[in-house]
Symmetry: none
DNA sequence: TATGAATGAGTCTTCATTCAT
DNA sequence: AATGAATGAAGACTCATTCAT
């Protein structure tokens, strides 16, 4: 008796249980975003995740731990995405850059796009470690990835030589600013037509980077 | 005898009392920045301002009111500064823009430069009204001021015609990003030589805006 | 085997939890009575109820809510009692009145008899709504019940016709005054022999109401 | 120059100053009545009396002292009034009683009539001493005065012999109840026609006290 | 006499966290 | 795995009272 459950069909409730941490993180992100880390209440997170307050502690030992897990969970995919993208674009870096910008522009419409960065900014005073972690794992990686593309583009003569660092900033900065403006400060602008937005932006940037005659 | 009391002596304690609100706001900004609005304790703010907890309530009726007063107090000068600057630069807009960029770059080194914006970002979820206020009073105004300068530069043929909105973003975005990177996320980069930083940046931007032959 | 669990065991702690609100109300009444609503401390109420301060808030959302719940809880039974009593005495109203007076006289000895009315009087300035509620639910109802009995007694010729309102006052007033005198102002008088007290009182009253020849 | 102000007319400000304590007591009574002793704020009392918070402490050393002074100030006249009244009515006690009832009935309309008693009731739990003082100085004295009158009326054969204590209660009780009902609990009744009210009441009472044939 | 400024002590209320079941 | 109940610790806010002027 008590034979091994053949091929372990993973009863539904178990799958649920396994999904729990993820659900909790989602709920936490929403609450943290809406209220800020300190004002967010564990009880609300629990309710949103469909659990009791106490149940969260079965998965995360504390509120801070929940925050850390949340950041970590959101950081991985992002970082990987950026790297894959840049790696795969090495053959034609300029096109790759343009595609990335286009993708970014399209995603600018998504609410919640900046949820994590905004959260990180909000807590950066209280948890510098987390801010540092985020910088290293996301911003720095993205920066490096972009730098590689730019370096490649220069090497191929697609753009003229200039300070790579400045170019990275010129590339990310405006997008970041636009996103902040829209999603954090509540402004409503050029986003109606993201495609146009990014073209204009890229125009200006690329015009400045055209290989000189 | 009984000469006119020269310029009203104003007993020391009174001057003190009049200076209080400002001292409190300073203390509040420091605490809010360090801990975030919710985690900051009124008692710490009071201590930092050299008062008792209760005394703060003689000047501000609540923690939120303190926050609002703080934002408001910091917003006025900033907005005014930007407008003055842009107004006075209308005769030679391109030079004005370059000067503004230079000034900004130099101030990038100041810690606390982003204290208010960071704070605003942190509370934007909980107090959208404040975020909106900041956007309208600071960011929007700055944006418009820059736009005027840019329009003037175009009109004078100093730079080629292009989407003004995009140019504004291209101007502000990189600086904002750099500041965020440095002061909020704890990165340490090009700031060693702000002069160089801004030159590179401006180079890239202006190259793209050179009037076409 | 496995007989039906007789009458659902309900673990002790659960029964405890269910009894909590009542225990808290008792404790609250005692503290409110002893100190007055404003001077009473939630912590003392909690201690008296055998809970932590915070636990009270699991059952009542605020101090005022606790007060309201308390009044409401004490009002129901009282009102019902009065009405039952008067209804059941309709066949011989005079006797019923005498019985009610006797009962009242006997209860005059109980300390805490006036706890709720005194509390209501004390807060009537600050919470007129509660005072009104108490008047309508208790005093008014009692008044009406007595009036019915008196009307019935008149109809039956047990007492002479006179202003019913005046008779009600003549009936309640002295008892109320005596109770106030004793329990609130700390006087100590005729209460030693409540039976005698009420007889004298009733004598005077009834003599005035004897049907005229 | 600077001659002696002839006959010291007591400069106006001084008279004001002398009137201060009384003004403060008035203000205190109003605030205490409206909010209850504990909820009343010294600042509000001061404002109502036209002084600064701190100035009150020039006249009364503490909030409790203010309360005590208030009670004491209101008690004196009342007690004296009652005694004068009863003393002067000894020649025709029954008429005196009727007059007193009439006066009481007329004053029933005054809001604030019960302000002090209500206040005393409200604080009786916290300051039994004050309650006792009020009982002894006011209620007890009134009681005794009434008892004298009643005794005199009996001696003169104006009313039949009965328990004096009961008669006093029968006399005061209904009036007290009516006043409480109206001014404290917010009911609105027979007060429209106080003359009628008291006649009915007296009718019932006196009918029971008519000398038996 | 009078007051604006200041504060210490206290109270309500909240919330992350624990625990018995 | 899950939760209803409970609490300790903490923080915003209030207010009687004091003091320098």
């Amino acid at each position: 008796m008590n034979e091994p459950q053949p091929a372990a069909p993973t009863p539904r409730w178990r799958r649920r249980a396994e999904a729990r941490p993820e659900e909790i993180l989602d709920a936490a992100l929403e609450e943290f975003s809406a209220r800020g880390f300190d004002a967010a209440r564990m009880e609300d997170i629990a309710k949103r995740a469909g659990l009791s307050k106490a149940a969260i502690y079965l998965y995360f030992p504390s509120k801070v731990a929940l925050l850390e897990a949340l950041i970590e969970a959101r950081v991985g995919p992002l970082a990987r995405g950026v790297q894959t993208l840049s790696a795969s674009g090495m053959s034609d870096p300029l096109t790759a850059l343009r595609m990335m910008a286009t993708m970014a522009a399209h995603r600018l419409g998504e609410p919640g796009l900046l949820a994590v960065p905004r959260l990180v900014i909000g807590i950066s005073g209280r948890f510098p470690e987390i801010a540092k972690y985020y910088r290293e794992q996301v911003v720095e990686k993205a920066r490096r990835a972009l730098e590689s593309l730019i370096a490649a583009a220069m090497a191929k003569g697609q753009i003229r030589r200039a300070d790579k660092n400045a170019i990275v900033r010129a590339f990310i900065g405006p997008l970041f600013f636009e996103a902040m403006w829209t999603h954090v400060l509540g402004g409503e602008t050029a986003l109606n037509d993201p495609q146009k937005l990014i073209e204009q932006q890229f125009d200006v940037l690329l015009a400045g980077l055209e290989p000189r005659a």
